[in-house]
């Protein structure tokens, strides 16, 4: 009986999946098997297994991994400290608000900030160093990507930490655990669901990042997302674009399977 609540609530969600996920995927798979003249072919799949695209797949994976890693590294302590501030929910909102300003505008601002004559290099000069080339480097690319994903990582972790029962921590401390042990054995395991959700909302979209690969990395980083964009909009080759998209989705499925939790079924 109690599962009826939940299955009933799945209905609108199923409609969404059928209309906006299954139908577009069917279209993409269909297009991926068409050549430029609209004839059926599997050549696009063959073309994907060439060094150019395989290298791109690896690049996308590597950068998505780096971005997720640094986002987590910065977000976890931020979320942790935020839960201890006085007006924590207000501060959390203030973390989200910057993401509501248009990304292209913010990217242009970053171009200015990172510039040779920008404010960041002015600071560098105060410390007596030569102005550094920051734009079009791995650093600037990963920095701006991490900037974009920070709110998506902080929020789920914050939510997990927020409701953490403080008595658990006191208990651990009373039993003689050090701060680090308390964190590793008590706090972190209890927030793992939030961390996972944050990793998913960072890693998955990071695989298909495109715009800032050009704006901030000057096309020195080419990801699968960039390639799809180019195939659709420049080469007008929707077939090849769709093929890359199919592989991107397959990669996502695989990484989901690898990180999925196995046993916690049938709740609620």
């Amino acid at each position: 009986m109690r599962n009826k609540v939940s299955t009933g609530s799945l209905f609108p969600y199923f409609i969404w999946i059928v209309l906006f996920v299954i139908a577009p995927i069917a279209l993409i798979v269909y297009y991926s098997m068409l050549d430029l003249d609209g004839n059926f072919t599997l050549d696009n799949y063959k073309a994907f297994f060439t060094p150019v695209y395989l290298k791109m797949t690896l690049t996308s994976f590597w950068y998505a991994f780096l971005i997720t890693f640094f986002t987590l590294l910065i977000s976890y302590p931020t979320a942790f400290f935020l839960t201890k501030t006085k007006h924590k929910h207000l501060w959390l909102m203030l973390i989200i608000i910057p993401s509501w300003i248009n990304l292209l505008l913010k990217t242009y601002a970053f171009i200015g900030i990172f510039g040779l004559y920008g404010p960041l290099n002015a600071v560098v000069k105060v410390f007596g160093f030569e102005p550094q080339q920051i734009l079009f480097t791995d650093f600037s690319f990963i920095f701006v990507s991490v900037y974009i994903f920070i709110p998506f990582m902080i929020i789920p972790i914050f939510n997990a930490l927020d409701k953490l029962n403080p008595t658990l921590i006191y208990a651990a401390r009373d039993l003689g655990a050090s701060s680090f042990t308390t964190f590793r054995r008590v706090v972190f395991p209890l927030t793992i669901a939030g961390v996972k959700s944050g990793i998913q909302t960072t890693f998955i979209p990071a695989l298909s990042l495109f715009m800032i690969t050009r704006l901030i990395a000057g096309n020195q980083v080419i990801t699968l997302g960039t390639a799809i964009e180019q195939q659709f909009l420049v080469s007008q080759n929707w077939g090849m674009g769709s093929t890359i998209a199919v592989f991107l989705i397959i990669i996502m499925f695989i990484s989901m399977l690898l990180t999925s939790q196995k046993s916690k079924g049938g709740r609620v």
Partner: protein, 358 residues
């Protein structure tokens, strides 16, 4: 539960108020007019005062929608579902749209102002006898550079200057396969419309030798970098070069002697048009000498309108960098539609070059 319900109600109330405000603003704008045209153009690519003037003169209300790439614009028009009466494609896109039968022929009897256009820009290969298009702005592809930041011997009189070892890590290229591959082909003395695998291979190999000089391959963001003296050499379009030079007087622009690309943005009436008469009225209005002069002044690109040039600042029109002389113009080539297969090849070669940068 209570906060959730409160939040839902608050959102609905805010949306209601906003809907009402937008509706009031919109009806105040149209003043009860039913005659409307939809213009589909790049952002900031027309003087907004002219749109108001057009509505005052003709009573036709203008809805202005924007796109950011030729290809995306074509996809929208091909798919239909929205009534665009005017679109502004570049010349290679005109050919593609013609091929796909997406354009409506122009009625020249409704465009008396067409005589204002310099005959040099009429009857071009991409649209013989201007059956479908009227040129809107035009320009070239060349090198914008800052003479104060690079060696004096570099004048970009020849494309080969880009390969000069003194420019190591200094060159910016625009992110376009036709522009970059075209530059490679031109530098070999070949046509930028070449359909020859061996030539493209040769051009790509030459470009790969350029890799050590490349700083980045970017798009419109080159403008702030050049203005800020942060980039010293860039391959770009003349229109953007003009924008940069307006802000930074140190900059110069050169079209190398081996030749380059001549491009046109054109006014067309796409198949999606719902008000063909209104569209003709709009094109004719934009061809008016005073209107075209004011628009060229606002946008800063080169106008093909000879009558308008008479009304513009003589210094601007006499600038051979943006209004090149006959001799140079004869060396410039307009992009031909290569067909999707060859376009794909250009992109593959370009991608190979891009991946070689690191």
């Amino acid at each position: 539960m209570k906060p959730l319900i409160q939040a839902t109600i608050a959102i609905l109330v805010i949306c209601g108020i906003l809907f009402f405000t937008a509706d009031r603003l919109e009806s105040a704008g149209s003043k009860g007019s039913t005659d409307t045209i939809t213009v589909y153009n790049w952002g900031e690519y027309i003087d907004p005062d002219l749109i108001k003037q057009f509505t005052e003169e003709t009573g036709i209300k203008v809805v202005y929608e924007t796109f950011d790439s030729n290809e995306a614009m074509m996809t929208k028009i091909q798919q239909g579902g929205s009534a665009y009466d005017i679109a502004v494609p570049s010349e290679y896109m005109v050919e593609m749209m013609k091929e796909k039968d997406l354009l409506i022929p122009l009625d020249h009897s409704k465009l008396p102002n067409l005589q204002n256009i310099d005959p040099y820009y009429l009857d071009l290969p991409f649209d013989p006898s201007n059956k479908y298009t009227v040129p809107y702005f035009w320009g070239t592809v060349g090198v914008v550079f800052n003479p104060n930041l690079i060696d004096d011997h570099l004048t970009f009189d020849s494309w080969d200057d880009l390969w000069d070892p003194a420019l190591s890590g200094k060159v910016f290229l625009v992110d376009g396969s036709r522009e970059v591959m075209g530059m490679g082909l031109n530098s070999l003395g070949e046509s930028l419309n070449s359909k020859d695998d061996a030539l493209l291979r040769k051009a790509t190999d030459k470009l790969i030798h350029l890799s050590p000089n490349i700083k980045a391959i970017i798009g419109d963001e080159i403008t702030p970098l050049m203005i800020n003296n942060e980039a010293s050499v860039a391959l770009t379009w003349s229109g953007q070069a003009a924008d940069m030079m307006w802000e930074n007087e140190e900059l110069d622009y050169a079209i190398p002697k081996e030749g380059s690309n001549l491009w046109f943005d054109n006014l067309v009436i796409p198949k999606t048009a719902a008000n063909v008469d209104g569209a003709h009225a709009f094109i004719n209005f934009m061809l008016d000498a005073e209107v075209a002069a004011q628009n060229a002044d606002y946008v800063g690109y080169a106008t093909p309108n000879a009558a308008a040039m008479q009304l513009m600042d003589p210094e601007v029109v006499a600038d051979e960098r943006f209004y090149p002389n006959e001799e140079l113009k004869n060396k410039l080539e307009v992009y031909e539609n290569l067909g999707l297969e060859w376009l794909g090849k250009y992109n593959e070669y370009f991608l190979e070059f891009k991946m070689s940068i690191r």
